[in-house]
């Protein structure tokens, strides 16, 4: 049972990470900086609960805010470049954040042990959950409540005009500009929202692992972050969730019995999945089908239905 609870924690946190990249990807930007925002969230939230003695929820909110602000600041210069150049720029930022925490030491004496981030050794003893008597199940419920809230907010954003504008920018920047959309503002906003979500995810991650260090936030994590929405498809937030379950649940945990062959198969299956479903596991057709199944006659977008004269 503990195994499944642990898996549920990983999937929850990685869903948040994937959603942060989803948001940025909607505007057509491939960002490898999400692991950096995730790291900032993890360290900030950890320091607030361990060193400042804050409760978890306010610590997570502040962590999200800090990551969001950094994302906003990074967004302005980074989004001036496009395509591969943006990938390079955001990768560089992610590595810079990682190396910052590699060198960052801020420890406080607490009786017989020192608490706080300690450079390459990392940040140990983030013991908020055990100290406050949370069981693993409590933690899982907490994580998935947050995931559900974030997904609901993004789902709603996606249905709004803001979502349509983000997708318009993602499809054709020139046309978007020419219809009066301020594309810089849209892209930076998406980056900021992505930063906020990654910050929350990182903050939760720090608390359930109790020990974070710089190596966890490298290029591999950044690649995972962007792989989830790409594999899952951009038609809705559920695609990302599905991709996280597929990768973390099936490819990483489910294939463990295969030993070292797993890594080979892992890559192969992703290639296969992308070939079979080039627009993502949950592509527009699949999501339209699901919507029809669940929503009955009321189809999205609900706004336009009533308006069409003669429809």
């Amino acid at each position: 049972m503990d195994f499944y609870l642990g898996l549920a924690q990983i999937i929850g946190v990685h869903t948040l990470l994937g959603l942060s990249a989803y948001c940025v990807l909607l505007t057509g930007q491939v960002s490898l900086a999400q692991a950096g925002f995730f790291a900032i969230g993890a360290y900030v939230a950890g320091m607030l609960t361990v060193l400042a003695g804050w409760a978890l929820v306010p610590a997570l909110l502040v962590a999200a805010l800090v990551s969001g602000l950094v994302a906003c600041a990074v967004g302005f210069p980074a989004l001036r470049v496009k395509g591969l150049m943006l990938v390079v720029a955001t990768t560089a930022f992610g590595e810079a954040v990682r190396l910052f925490f590699f060198n960052f030491t801020y420890q406080v004496d607490a009786g017989n042990l020192k608490l706080g981030p300690h450079g390459a050794e990392g940040f140990r003893q983030i013991r908020y959950f055990p100290e406050n008597g949370w069981s693993t199940l409590d933690v899982v419920i907490f994580i998935w409540t947050v995931v559900a809230l974030v997904m609901a907010a993004l789902w709603w954003l996606d249905r709004s005009r803001a979502g349509a504008v983000m997708r318009a920018v993602g499809e054709d920047e020139l046309a978007a500009q020419s219809t009066g959309i301020n594309i810089t503002a849209v892209k930076v906003s998406a980056m900021t929202i992505g930063g906020l979500i990654a910050g929350i995810g990182g903050g939760i991650f720090a608390h359930y692992t109790t020990h974070i260090e710089h190596v966890q936030f490298g290029v591999a994590l950044a690649t995972f972050a962007i792989a989830y929405p790409i594999l899952g498809g951009l038609s809705s937030v559920f695609g990302t969730l599905l991709a996280v379950i597929f990768i973390q649940g099936f490819l990483i945990e489910g294939l463990r019995f295969m030993g070292d062959w797993r890594n080979l198969l892992f890559g192969g299956l992703i290639v296969l999945a992308m070939n079979v479903r080039p627009r993502g596991l949950l592509d527009p057709r699949a999501s339209a089908l699901l919507r029809r199944l669940f929503a009955g006659r009321r189809q999205a977008p609900p706004l336009s239905r009533k308006e069409a004269p003669g429809a």
């Binding site: 504008v165 046309a175 219809t179 977008p301 336009s304």
Partner: protein
């Protein structure tokens, strides 16, 4: 209304547009014609601010907008269509018009309503645009799945959705059949009646001669004629530009 003063754009050594003087008056349809590569589309791109001017000025309603970014020009009331259709293919017809609601007046709406809701006036406005462009029955379809003529219509509608006072139509009749061109002709006339100023770039000479109040002709980035359609049609220089002069023929 719209005035181009010495508009110049050089791409390296290529003089795409050179020292162009052009005026579009309030409620006027100005036809802009010229052989391929004469700088018509570049002119539209410069008016929209898609790239910086080499020199010259763009004046709109008495205001110098030469340094304004594209989205601000839309807010001021200049909207355009593209020669090669550029719709948001993964968005529905409705959404294509929804995202285009960017006029100054629409921007003044309560931001929460503007970005997250879709206020009553927005719906009504889009409904009217859909009806005017005969797209109401396609409202929930993806723009990318429309037929060619419908896509052209939707692009025109999208430009119109930001309630502009000046429309730049870059070859709106390209690839359309005779019936569709007639409808386009009627729509342009209707818009002009309502006071819209239109810059119409078109290869389809019949359409231009039919709806334009005035026609300007570009050749090698420079204006070679400007006047009522009938005069321009008989202009010797224009004939030479299109057909070649006796010396080169």
């Amino acid at each position: 209304m719209l005035e181009l003063q010495g508009l110049t754009k050089h791409f390296g050594g290529v003089r795409a547009v050179h020292d162009l003087q052009l005026q579009v008056r309030q409620g006027e349809v100005l036809g802009l014609i010229g052989p391929n590569g004469s700088g018509k589309s570049t002119t539209v791109n410069l008016i929209c601010g898609l790239f910086p001017l080499t020199s010259g000025r763009v004046i709109f309603n008495g205001q110098d907008i030469s340094d304004r970014p594209p989205h601000e020009r839309v807010a001021l009331g200049i909207a355009r269509t593209f020669q090669n259709i550029r719709l948001f293919g993964q968005l529905t017809v409705w959404q294509n018009l929804w995202v285009a609601q960017n006029s100054a007046e629409q921007r003044r709406q309560n931001p929460a309503k503007r970005w997250l809701g879709g206020g009553g006036s927005t719906r009504e406005q889009i409904g009217r645009v859909l009806e005017f462009f005969d797209l109401a029955h396609k409202c929930d379809e993806l723009a990318g799945s429309l037929a060619f003529g419908e896509q052209r219509r939707l692009e025109f509608a999208r430009a119109f959705a930001s309630s502009p006072s000046m429309l730049l139509l870059d070859e709106p009749a390209a690839g359309m059949n005779a019936e569709e061109i007639d409808q386009l002709d009627a729509r342009i006339r209707k818009l002009r009646e309502d006071g819209m100023s239109i810059l119409l770039i078109e290869h389809h000479v019949e359409l231009v001669m039919s709806v334009a109040d005035r026609v300007a002709v570009l050749n090698f980035g420079q204006k070679i004629a400007d006047g009522p359609p009938a005069d321009v049609q008989n202009d010797a220089g224009v004939r030479a530009a299109y057909l070649g002069t006796a010396a080169t023929a």
